[in-house]
Point group: C2
Chain length 301, copies 2
């Protein structure tokens, strides 16, 4: 089933205790698409400036990623992010950010994307997420990401968005902020009251929680990765694995949601093992399936 992602394409500079990766390819839509493409074809919607040194067509070669929605703006510059991680690398510190093309109008939805059934709205201003969503005809399952900035500064728009989507994917700090509840299970229940019937809370190295409005609950530890060099893109590739699997099954029942969380968990465990997109360009579907089996064993008692 068709899967659409809207998000950023970035020129990243990342410092971790394992080294520096200067001007490498990043961005939420890029990580998401790479991850999702192991499971499902992807429709890509995003904008770059004339300065972008990456040819996405080459980067995505051999994957079913439709770039009809990639806008190159001759007079604009590409989004840039510089960040660093220290210690346990649980949190990025933003060293510098240039919004550039992200501060302009969002990309225009190609007509051929408008019938998309599975949709992921990567983190951006909720008002833009709403505008993007409103261009679609009749999506079946819409998931969105958000962040502390919007919870603090654009709460009314975020609440409008939440009424329009099926699933919110956010991290534990954001879940606590949005719900006003420290307990992540009751926090998820409170967020569901704001609209989405599914809430996924990402806890980084401590795994994730998924809860549905029916009260169904699934808790999964992270894949116990021993090589963690660059956590950039972990959340977006988690979302890519999650949505990619759902789209591939064309189902969103609880059993499918659980397996989708496991797919996201495993994909993220590869993403963090090296800088930028290196791991995702190297692995095959069989590597993912092997880790899925391992993860199943790791939690079995």
């Amino acid at each position: 089933m068709s899967l659409l992602v809207t998000g950023s394409i970035g020129i990243d500079t990342v410092k971790t205790p394992f080294g520096v990766s200067k001007d490498c390819l990043g961005g939420s839509a890029v990580y998401f698409s790479m991850a999702a493409s192991f499971f499902s074809p992807v429709r890509f919607l995003g904008a770059i400036g004339a300065d972008c040194p990456f040819i996405l067509k080459k980067v995505f070669k051999g994957r079913h990623i439709d770039l009809a929605g990639l806008e190159m703006r001759q007079t604009s510059k590409t989004f840039r992010w510089a960040g660093s991680y220290a210690g346990a690398m649980n949190e990025a510190v933003t060293d510098a950010v240039e919004l550039n093309v992200l501060a302009e109008n969002p990309p225009i939805m190609p007509d051929i994307y408008k019938d998309s059934k599975f949709v992921f709205l990567a983190n951006t201003a909720p008002i833009l997420q709403i505008k993007l969503l409103d261009q679609l005809n009749n999506p079946k399952f819409v998931a969105a990401d958000t962040m502390n900035l919007w919870i603090n500064n654009a709460l009314p728009e975020l609440k409008r968005l939440l009424k329009k989507i099926d699933c919110l994917v956010l991290n534990e700090t954001e879940a606590r902020m949005l719900s006003g509840d420290h307990n992540l299970i009751t926090a998820a229940a409170k967020i569901e009251k704001l609209g989405p019937s599914v809430v996924v809370i990402k806890k980084g190295e401590s795994g994730s929680i998924i809860r549905t409005k029916k009260g169904e609950l699934f808790v999964l530890p992270a894949y116990p990765a021993t090589i963690v060099k660059d956590p950039t893109g972990a959340g977006d590739s988690f979302a890519g694995g999650f949505m990619g699997y759902l789209a591939s099954q064309n189902k969103t029942d609880f059993a499918t949601l659980k397996k989708a969380v496991a797919c996201g968990t495993v994909i993220a465990s590869f993403t963090i093992s090296d800088f930028s997109l290196k791991p995702l360009t190297k692995i095959k579907r069989k590597n993912i399936d092997m880790r899925l089996n391992e993860l199943r064993k790791f939690v079995k008692f």
Copy 2:
């Protein structure tokens, strides 16, 4: 199989966002014994002062907890601890502590305890843990807890202890401190090089990790508790459930260790649901078994 615990009996005053519990019963040996008694008889070794308002014989009534090792010291005072939890209640802030009897000689091991096969040395100075251990004849599986204080101030003694025990139970911060490694999986492997063939790392609301020297690995989220009123004793009752189950099976193979971690996880989820020992006095073995089944479902995909 015989299970011995050595640890503290405390008069606790605990403040959480849910209220205050003044001068209630606490202490590592007390929480451990209550938890372990659901699975196995327990031999209790600890000391109180003449001021102790609790009659442990009454508290433990109906449980197989042998109090031959409970020393009442007429001229001493009982250990007191006052602590508070805020926010997500992940960490206790110690407001006041009076070591009292804990600053004196450790209790004397009754002869009838010396053949104990399963042994838990709750957190105290490593030198005392060694002295207690050296009084035993031929234990089969010895686990110990420790804390940042000893890692910082008594590392040589702690390292001596580690060579004598089979299993170290510690929290994630302590594991990182002791190993000098942020990654908990490789941290566990490094700690195993110091002696213990099994390392259990507790991550509070994010569950736990167990690793053996053979490289076997099990990761389990916490039971997704929605009622958390007082986390005091969670770690010690986790250890009680863990060791109680092992002793009940008289086995320490990996399948048994995994189930034991699950038992500890579930017991801890009850402990935190109300102040002091209230939850553990109310539940029955069947409540534990129900949550074990639920936990198995929560992680299944």
